[in-house]
C-alpha cells in the first residue's frame, strides 16, 4: 500500500504523540506509526505516579499522562497505525513499514519525526559472570510482565542499578508480595531521583548498596542466588574479600537506557557518540533535511514533561518543513566540555535567534558550581546551581541572537 503524509511520526509514545499534536495544530496531515498494540509507549507500563508536574501542573501516573495525549489525538485528524513496525526510512523521506493488517506500507513523507524511544542495557552488555538461568530480567521487561501482563516475575529479588525503573520496580515487587533483598549501585551515587530512593527503598526498608555490583549469578535453571561485591571507587573492579552471596530467584537490571537508533543509523543520520542519539539543531532537525528527532531516541530524559516539550518543538519544526522544505544550514556548534557530558541541541542553524533552551547533563556530582555558556569572548550565561548530578538533566535558556562563534558549555567550580 502506498501512502502520503505531510508528517510521519515514527513511534506513538509520549514524544511521538506530542510531536503529532503540534504538527497537526500547524496544519499538517499526520501519520503516526506505532509498533505496540496501542499508543502511549512505555508510559503504559509505568503505573506509578510522578508524571506531569511540570507539563500539566499535577501529578499523574504514566497511563494517565499518556491517556491525556491519546484523548487529545482522538479529537484531531491524526491517524495512528498501531501494531505497525517501521523497517526503514531513507534520506529522501520514504518510510517503509509493515503490519499484519496493512502488509507493507510505503509512505512518502513531507517530514519525518523520529520518536522511537530507547531500550535497556542488558546483562550481556555488562558481561556479568555466572550461569545463565531464567530469572534475569531487565527492569522494564519485568515491569511489562507485571503491569501489563499481570504476572509475577519472581519472589526474592536483587536489583542491580539504582536507575528510576529499578527503584520503582523495587517498590512494585515489594507491594505485590515479593522480597527485595538489595539494590546494588556501581557508582557512589544513584542516577535515580531522591524521591524514588526515599519512597521506593527507604519506605520499604530495602538496602541500597553504593559501590557494589553483581559479580556472579548462581543457579542452573532458575536464579538461585547472586554474589555481590564492593567495587573500588576508582577502577570499578570488585574488591576481593567483600563478596556476599544473596539467595534470590530474580535479578533485575536497571543499568541504563540506550536510544534505539537502528533506523536512524541505517538512514545515515549523523550520531552523537555521547548521547547515542542524533546530532540535531535548535529545531531538532537531524543531519538529514526534513528528518527531526525528539524524546528518548534523541537523548535519554528523566522527566516525560521535558520529552513532551521537546517533541512539540520537533513536531512544529516538521510541519513547517513539510510546508516549506528549506533545509537550514548549520551555523554553529554547541560544545559540551569541562564537566558537561553532552548538550542538546548540538548545533545551531543559521536561522537560530532569540531565546533557546539548552539541555545538558554533567559527568559528576557538583555542589555550588556554576554553569558557564560562552560564545567566543561573549558570556551568554553564568548560572550558579546548588547541585548538579549526572542523574538529572539540566536546562538553561540563552539568547543566541547575533552569534558569531560556537557555543561552549562548561562547569566552573570555585577555587
Amino acid at each position: 500500500m502506498n501512502r502520503k503524509a505531510d508528517v510521519v511520526v515514527i513511534g506513538g509514545g509520549p514524544a511521538g504523540l506530542a510531536a503529532a499534536l503540534q504538527a497537526d495544530a500547524a496544519g499538517a496531515s499526520v501519520l503516526v506509526l506505532e509498533r505496540d498494540k496501542e499508543p502511549g509507549g512505555i508510559l503504559q507500563q509505568c503505573i506509578h505516579n510522578g508524571f506531569g508536574l511540570h507539563y500539566f501542573g499535577e501529578e499523574l501516573t504514566g497511563p494517565e499522562y499518556a491517556g491525556r495525549f491519546i484523548d487529545r489525538v482522538k479529537q484531531t485528524g491524526i491517524e495512528i497505525l498501531t501494531d505497525t513496525m517501521v523497517l526503514e526510512f531513507t534520506a529522501d523521506r520514504r518510510v517503509l513499514a509493515v503490519s499484519a493488517e496493512h502488509g507493507l506500507l510505503e509512505i512518502e513523507a513531507g517530514a519525518i519525526v523520529l520518536a522511537m524511544g530507547c531500550r535497556e542495557r542488558t546483562r550481556g552488555a555488562l558481561s556479568i559472570p555466572g550461569t545463565r538461568p531464567a530469572g534475569v530480567f531487565t527492569a522494564g521487561c519485568a515491569q511489562r510482565l507485571t503491569n501489563m501482563e499481570g504476572y509475577m516475575p519472581g519472589r526474592q529479588v536483587v536489583i542491580l542499578g539504582s536507575g528510576d525503573i529499578g527503584l520503582i520496580m523495587a517498590r512494585r515487587m515489594t507491594w505485590e508480595g515479593a522480597k527485595v533483598m538489595a539494590v546494588c549501585e556501581l557508582m557512589p551515587y544513584s542516577s535515580g531521583l531522591n524521591r524514588n530512593i526515599v519512597q521506593c527503598l527507604v519506605d520499604n526498608d530495602i538496602p541500597l548498596k553504593f559501590n557494589h555490583t553483581v559479580v556472579r549469578i548462581h543457579g542452573r535453571e532458575r536464579v538461585e542466588a547472586v554474589t555481590i561485591s564492593e567495587v573500588d571507587v576508582k577502577t570499578k573492579r570488585p574488591i576481593p574479600g567483600t563478596e556476599e552471596t544473596i539467595p534470590c530467584d530474580t535479578l533485575l537490571l536497571s543499568v541504563g537506557l540506550l536510544p534505539e537508533n537502528e533506523l536512524s543509523i541505517a538512514a545515515g543520520v549523523e550520531m552523537d557518540s555521547v548521547t547515542s542519539g542524533a546530532v540535531v539543531d535548535e529545531e531538532r532537525q537531524t543531519s538529514i533535511p526534513g528528518v527531526f528527532a525528539c524524546g528518548n531516541v534523541l537523548h535519554v530524559h528523566d522527566l516525560v514533561d521535558n520529552v513532551s516539550h521537546e517533541a512539540e518543538l520537533a513536531g512544529r519544526s516538521a510541519a513547517a518543513f513539510a510546508k516549506h522544505p528549506a533545509p537550514a544550514a548549520r551555523a554553529h556548534r554547541v560544545i559540551a566540555e569541562g564537566g558537561v557530558r553532552y548538550a542538546v541541541p548540538q548545533m545551531l542553524s543559521d536561522k537560530a535567534e532569540g531565546k533557546i533552551d539548552l539541555y545538558f547533563r554533567v559527568g559528576d556530582v557538583y555542589r555550588g558550581a556554576a554553569l558557564l555558556v560562552k560564545s567566543g569572548e561573549r558570556t551568554l550565561l553564568r548560572r550558579k546551581k546548588p547541585i548538579m548530578t549526572p542523574g538529572e538533566m539540566e536546562k538553561v535558556t540563552v539568547d543566541v541572537t547575533g552569534l558569531t562563534d560556537d557555543v561552549h558549555l562548561s562547569i566552573e567550580t570555585e577555587g
Binding site: 531500550r119 552488555a125 531464567a134 510482565l145
Partner: protein, 480 residues
Amino acid sequence: MRYDVAIVGGGVVGCAVARELSRYELRAVLLEATEDVAMGSSKANSAIVHAGYDCKPGSLMARLNVRGNALFTRWCEELEVPLSRCGSLVIGFDEADRAQIEELYAQGVKNGVPDMQIVDGNRARELEPSLSDQVTCALYAPTGGITCPYELTIACSENARRNGVELRTNAPVTAVEALADGGFALTCGGERVEANYVVNAAGLFSDDIARMVGDDSFNVAPRRGEYLLMDRNACHTHKVIFQTPSKMGKGVLVSPTVDGNIFAGPTAIDQTDRYDTEVTQAGIDTLRKLAVRSVPTLNFRAVITSFAGLRAVPSTGDFVIRPCETAPHMVHAGGICSPGLSSAPAIAEEIVGLLRGQGMDLREKADFEPHRSHIPAFRKMTREQQAEAIAQNPLYGRVICRCETITEAEIVEAIRRGARSVDGVKRRTRAGMGRCQGGFCSPRVMDILSRELQLPMEEITKFGGHSNLVVGKLKEVKRV
C-alpha cells in the same frame, strides 16, 4: 514394539546419525534427555567448519574432519543451513609461531586438506584487513568456514523426523540392559524402550552410556570454553582467525558468525562438572586480552552476550567411534570434541558403516527426502516476497523481535516444528538474539508460546526443566 535402532543423544552427532539412518527402511528413535535437540555442546561452540590441518595424521579426527568438511556443502544445501566458506587463518607473530604453522601445514598435507598456503604478514592482512600489524605469517586454508551448529542440529532432526525417525525429548536414558538376543532395553524417563541396535551419541555422557553395558574403555571429561559475542558493528572481520595452538586447545579465535556477529573465544578450562557452563570474570578477562592480539580494533563495548559450552574430551585422545566392547550392537560415537561439528556428516556415514558391519539390515528407502527447508525468514526476503508472505499469512506482518526483525509467523512455525521454550524459539528464529537480548520480545514470545501450546504462562520456560520465567499470576502469589 521394538525399534531397529535407538540413537541416544540429540546433539549434532546424534541428529546427523538420525538423518543418515533415515535413508533406510528402519524403525528408529532418537532419545534426547532435555526438552530440545542441540542443548549441550551443539549449542555453544565455535561454529567453525575446520579445514582439517590440526588433527594428528592417521587419527579418526583427521579423516572424519576432512571428509566432513567436504560433505558440509551438500548437507547445508539439502538442509538449508547457512554455510560460509570464508576461509581460515592461523596467525603467527614470531619464529616459534612460524615453526608451528609450518608443522600445521605439513600435517594438513598429510590429512589431505586442499589449497592451503603459508603467507607472510602483508598477504595475511590483504586477506583479512582487520588483522594486527604484528602478524608476520599465517596459514591460510580457504576450505575453512563457518556454519550455525544448532541450526544444523535442528535441521538434521527435522529432516530425520520427516523421513520417519521418532524423536522423544525429556527422555534421559538412565539404564541400558543388553538382552540375550543382542538387542537392548533402555530405561528413559520412566519408560522402557527396546531396540536391536543402539547408537551412543550422548556427548559428555557417552562414557556413562557405555558403562551401562559394562564398557569402561573410555572416559569423557568436560572442557569449558567461554565466549564473548559481539554486535554486528564490533569490527569488520570476515575470516576465521586462529592463533597458534597450545596444549589446551586451538587458542582464542576471532570469527564472524553466519548471522554477521563477531565472537571471541573459547577459553579452555578442564573441569569435572558436566553441567557447569558458567562464564567467569577470569575467562572474560582472558578473552579480551588475547583476542585483541589478533584483531586490535575489536570493540568490546559491542558485546551483547557471553556464554560457555562444554567440549566432550575423550580420554583416548581421539573420537571414540567403534562398536562397544561388551555389546557390539551398540556403536559409540563418543568423546566428540572439536572438530566434532566439522566431522558430524562424516561421523554419521561412519556410524552407518559400522552398523552395517554389525549386521544391520540396511535397505534404502525409495522415498527418502533429503531436503529440509528453513523457516522462511522475513528479514531475508525481497520486498516482493515480503508482501507475498504477508498476503499468505498476515502474521508475517507482525514484527515481534525488533532487533532481528523476526515476525510472529516465524515464531508460530518454530513452535509447530518443535520449539517448546523461549530459547527453543530463539534458536530456530533468532528472536531474542539481537542487541536487546529479548528484553523487548521475550514477554511476547512467552505469550505466543502460551497461546500455541495452550499452556499457562507460569509453565512457559526459558529452556525446559525448571527454568520457568514467571512464578504466578499477580495477586495470587503468596507474600514472601
